[in-house]
Structures are given as C-alpha cells and as structure tokens.
Amino acid sequence: MTIADEGSGKPARTRRQIYEDGLRKRSLMIAGTSTVAVVLAIVLLVPLAPGWAAVKKSFFNWDVFSATFPKLLDAFLIDVMIFAWCAPAIAVLGLLIALARDVRNPALYPLRIFSAAFTDVFRGVPVVLTVYLIGFGIPGLGLPRPWNSPYIWGSLALILTYSAYVAEIFRSGIESIHPSQRAAAESLGLSRRDTMWYVILPQAVRRVVPANMNMLIALQKDVALLSFIGPVEIFRQAGVFKSLYANFTPYVGAAVIFLAITIPATRYADYLMAKQRRDRS
C-alpha cells in the first residue's frame, strides 16, 4: 500500500483511491472465503446423507450418462429445429396482434376484439393444454398426412401462446414511446401508419429486446412440450432412456444440454437490460 513512486511519471493515487482499493480487497476476500466454504459444505456434506449412494446411482450415473448423452444431443436438434421456425413466426404474429389492437378503422373493429380476445385466451391457458388441444384436436378434424403432423400443430400451439405474450410486450413497448414522438411525426404530415412504422415501432422494438430475449429463453424450454403429442425430442428421448434404464440420469443429461444454451442466453439478456438502463439514465 504505497503511494506511486515519485518521478515515475505515474500520477499518485488519491487518498480516496487507496481507501477504496483496501475496501475492495477486503470484500473480495470475504466473498471468496464464504463461497468456498459453502461449496465445500455442499461437496462434503451431501455425500454424507444416508440416501446419497442411491441418489447418485439414480441421477448421476456415469455409465448411463455416457450411454445416453450422444443420443440426447441428436434429439436436441429437433428442439433447435422447432425453435428455429417458431421464433420468427412468433415475432411476426406478436407484432401484428400488437398493431391490430391499435386500429382505428371501424370496419376493422372485429380485428381489435379478436386480438384482445386472443391475448386473453392464450395467456390464460397453460401451454401444455394448448399443445394437446391443438396438436391432437385440429388433426382430428380429418386432415390428410402430412398436414396433420404434430410438428405443424404443436408448433402452432407454441406460436399462438407465445405470440400472445410477445404481443403484450410489443404493446407495452409502443405505449412506452413518449407521445411527443407521435406529435412530432404527425406535425410533419406523416400518416398514422407511417408514424407507427417509421417512428414508433423502431424505437418500441428496440426497447423491448431484453424482454423478448427472456421470452425466447422460455420458448427454448417449452419446445419440449411438443413431446406430449409425439415428437421424440430431447425431453421424450430422455424419458425413453429413463424407462429403459430405470434411471433419472438421462434427465440430468437433458438439463445439462438445456443449461448450456439458456445460461449464456440469460446472461446476454441481462447484459442487454443493464445496457439499456445505462443508456437511458
């Protein structure tokens, strides 16, 4: 703890800096020690629990893990695929529904009612029910193959549910744009449509990117619900392995794969949100 050497050209640290550095070192030490203590406690104490051997065999079984993990990865590609076509569809439909709630034309009034009802219904029903009802129900009307595929109708169920949420996010974004922006655009003679499309929406969409990132993360996990109507994606594949081996380790493997995707995505969403807070302040 010395003041920077004289004559070295470096500016000496202020008294405040020296004091704060000391504080920082101390709090780092405390945080590090307590973290190590907690981790050690978990690592050392949990195995002492009487059922640990059984739990380890059922949930953390290396033989089962290594036998099933590669196939779980393969099955995860199906999740990725479903996600890849659902996400853009959700963005488009969510935006359309958000905009439909703003139409002024009386002839289009049914559209407003419809979009309001749509968001109420699909936000109110558990996703898995929607997946069941649409995934089995609509093909049951007698559609020919391949148009009755559970991939199509299960995806539609996800798209409808998530669009309802995303539409609300877009709406909150639109409403968060200060009315003065609309006034400025209208004072220039821009039509309502142009005002929305060129002035309001670009700002609104940017503002809700973090919220929508969180929806994407949730969607990534809910894709697994399609397994209920047939597709053998990672969750189902893990379930099949679970029955085959009478062992839950495949579920742990699936969880690892999900986490590998969602943790970085969550961090990124948090980063975007923090950045936005900084930018606005």
């Binding site: 949930f59 089995f136 093909p139 109507i229 047939g230 053998v232 099949v240 029955s243 085959l244 009478a246």
Partner: protein
C-alpha cells in the same frame, strides 16, 4: 414356452411360504402384517377391472391376491396404493412393498430396482387403425407404417430395435395419447402388450385392428412382467417363492386363462 421353462425351474427349487414355523414376510413389509401393493393411476383393463384393484378382478389384481394368500396374508391385509412409473423407480423410501403395473423385466432396470420372478410373459402386439388395417403381418410390410408407442414402455424399444420403421416413430405419455394420435391420423399403428392392445381395439379405438403379435421367442428381450420392488428388498424371496408356487400349481395359468383368454388366436408377425 417361456412359461414352461420358468415353471420347470421353479419345480426344482420347491419352496414354500412357511419355513421353520414363521411366515416369510414377517418383519419385511412396510406395515407389519400388511402387504402394500402399488398399481397405476388409473389402472387399466384387463389388468385391473374398473380401476378397482380391491375387487380382485382383473389379471394383476387377481395375481396380487393370490400371491398375498400364498405368502400367508388374507385379502383384508392387502393395502393398495397408486404410483407413477417415476415414483416407482425414484431413489429413497418407497410407499409400497411391491408394484405391479405390467413392468417388463430388463437387465438395465434390474440394476436399479428388484424384480420378482415373472408372473406373465407378454407378447407385443401391433394395433392399427384405418386404411392400414389390411397390412400384412410381416416385418417388411410393417416397416413402412407410421408408428407410435408409449415412450416409457419396452414397446418403444422393441419398435426401434425390431420393427425399425422407415420414418421416425412418435412416442407418447400414455395409452390415451397414443389413441388420440391414432384418431388424429398422425400415426398408423402402435405397439402395446397384447392384452392392452386387445382391450384398446375392442373398447376404446373405433376401427382398431390387431395386425399381429410378436412371438415371444423372436424378441431379443422377451417381455416378462415382474413385480417391482426396491433394490435389495428382503421381501423379494417371499414374493418369488409365492409366484413360483402359484406357477407350479397351475393357479397362475388359471388366473391368466380367466382374465386374458382372448390373447390366443392373434396371428404371429413373421
């Protein structure tokens, strides 16, 4: 065939429930003097009739009471509980002594839990609906169908290992979902154990047909149903002894004839 071998083996071992003046199960059950048996929720025909195992009606219910009696427990000392498959295999204390829900004995499962001697050898059968009902009962013809199965059953394994369908099969949570997918035209056919398939085709699925059954000796893992117990359960020897004795005496075959008699006459898949 399998049953004969099992019966032969049992005859050699010659066991009884009573050994040295005290009953085998004593001190080994969850509740002293009671045998707690788990079934599914709901339990399906023809394994348990009307979802009421207490009636002793249905194949598994009848076997359960016969085994209890053989072990020296009267009917009123049998207690029923319900579990899912996951509850049956989870580590930790169990809420049942034995669990009967058409569990197929596999070597992989056997590493995690204990199984009793088999009480039934279930052939797998293919249930189909609609236009494909006329499909020939040959593996080649069956490969081309769109297949489904309950994901947690050995049917799912057999589908992949034996039929090897040309398009990816779809797997479901339970029988009802498989039927829903068949009714929606999303799959042509599904694999069940034969009694279940017969029940579904007769009662649940309009226009359902059994295409054929897999002869037990053609399967790489013949589906033998065993009672599931916690790994290392000391009760196993008592249950095994009871089942072997029932097999030996022909009582098990009689129960099977009473509840599962329709299973004969279904063509074999070549």
């Amino acid at each position: 065939m399998t049953r004969l071998i099992v019966a032969g083996a049992l005859a050699l071992m010659g066991t009884t429930a009573v050994a040295g003046g005290h009953l085998c199960y004593e001190g080994k059950t969850l509740t002293e003097g009671k045998l707690t048996i788990a079934t599914g929720n709901p339990a399906y025909y023809p394994w348990v009739m009307d979802d009421a195992p207490e009636s002793g009606k249905g194949f598994e219910a009848a076997v359960a009471y016969a085994v209890a009696e053989e072990m020296g427990l009267s009917a009123e000392n049998v207690v029923w509980v319900r579990t899912s498959f996951d509850e049956a295999i989870q580590p930790g204390a169990k809420n049942f002594d034995i669990n009967m829900q058409q569990y197929s004995i596999t070597p992989e499962r056997d590493q995690m839990v204990d199984f009793s001697e088999p009480y039934y050898a279930a052939p797998m059968a293919a249930l189909a609906v609609g236009a494909v009902s006329e499909t020939e009962a040959t593996l080649d013809a069956l490969k081309g169908l769109k297949w489904g199965a309950v994901g947690s059953t050995t049917g799912a394994q057999k589908l992949i290992n034996t039929i090897q369908p040309s398009s990816d099969p779809l797997f479901y949570n339970d029988n009802n979902d498989v039927i829903a997918a068949m009714q929606a035209g999303q799959i042509d056919a599904a694999l069940f154990d034969l009694p279940t398939a017969l029940y579904l085709s007769a009662v649940v699925l309009d226009g359902g047909t059994i295409l054929g059954q897999f002869p037990a000796d053609r399967a790489d893992t013949p589906d033998l149903f065993g009672m599931l117990m916690e790994e290392g359960n000391p009760l196993k020897e008592c249950v095994d002894a009871a089942i072997m004795s029932l097999t030996e005496s022909g009582e098990l075959a009689a129960i099977e004839a009473e509840w599962l008699q329709d299973t004969t006459g279904v063509p074999l898949i070549q």
